[in-house]
Subunit: 214 residues, 2 copies
């Protein structure tokens, strides 16, 4: 079953949904729930029951009409497929408010993710500790050994590209970028960007133009 | 020109790109740059020169071969189209680390966005102030007058749905959700979700499976 899945290419949207299911299942299991229907799982995951059934079928689960899916087994399988049973190291570059918030958010219970270092250029911050994680100098970033590590970029826009260049030199292949700017990377490096203000501007625009919409 | 645009429906992806252009243009103008080519604007915005040209044509800009676009006029036009010249009020529910970081990130220079209130259920936090913004009790959320306000939900997953129900009662029609859970809202309410840990899990999965990919 594993082999069949690993040969398939899962889309990022599918991976994101599996991840959402895993967190919903954790909550359900904490609440003592042993089974869940595709309708319930869909509602709690902001997706349709049909898509839940299709996703879980991909994982090898057929479900039983009127009974639903076993929460424990389902979670176990998703953890296995997503590789959540082993710990992935994460470094955060930029120990400003956003970087620190992301770091402490992730240290507080994101299963399988472990912040191992924060980097900043501010000498006043370097050497201090946040939530048990030391802040290191970003000047030596390119010399770090960061292969197999995920990097979060939470610097101002102007600093992001030089930081990313150094991360790539240090061996990073996966970057989550919060700086509001485009980034140039080699083709074997993956960048995903989150633009917080941009999300609000989109909402703002949609709210202005909603009434005129059909 | 305005009229033509307002009759068109811009996609959220287009709005997000316009917004990115506006921030790139602000930086270029600060650096004293009077013109920019579609190639440069594309690189700085993580998009293609062809898409830049198409987007700017939509705004009424043809560009001049070998000269490019005037940065000042272009920014002015985008600000007008996105409605960035007026201030949009934003409230943040959940004054934990993430909520506070988002609030101070947005108060530090997101043009046209103004945090007017933070809400939390913790009595120890209610009544205190963060970056000049008072933290108010989330218990009275449904009784607030929040029409035309954007709301950011930065609560734990289990609290998000009740909070959103109250926000909708208070008149909110646009919600940016950071709680890792699906949310049920009426059809006239827009929810956009940002899943920070989820983004990292997607990167992690892709990194694991990259080598096997063609």
């Amino acid at each position: 079953m594993n082999e069949r899945l690993s040969r398939r290419r899962l889309s990022t949207a599918t991976i994101a949904r599996f991840h959402t299911y895993s967190r919903v299942l954790e909550r359900l299991i904490n609440d003592g729930r042993r089974t869940v229907s595709s309708v319930q799982l869909g509602q709690l995951s902001a997706t349709s029951a049909a898509l839940v059934r299709s996703d879980l079928f991909t994982l090898g689960f057929g479900g039983t009409r009127g009974v639903g899916y076993e929460t424990g087994k389902l979670l176990e399988r998703i953890v296995e497929v997503l590789g959540l049973e082993r710990v992935r190291e994460v470094v955060v570059v930029g120990a400003g408010r956003l970087g620190l918030a992301i770091a402490s958010y992730l240290t507080q219970g994101a299963r399988g993710l472990k912040i191992t270092a924060l980097f900043d250029i501010d000498p006043a911050k370097v050497g201090t500790e946040v939530a048990g994680v030391a802040i290191r100098s970003a000047e030596r970033l390119a010399g770090e050994a960061l292969t197999d590590v995920l990097a979060v970029v939470a610097t101002p826009a102007a600093a992001a590209q030089p930081v990313v260049d150094q991360l790539v030199t240090a061996g990073v292949r996966s970057i989550l970028n919060f700086a509001p700017t485009g980034l140039a990377v080699p083709s074997d490096v993956t960048v995903r960007s989150v633009d917080l203000a941009g999300e609000l501007y989109v909402l703002s625009f949609l709210q202005d133009h909603h009434d005129g919409a059909a």
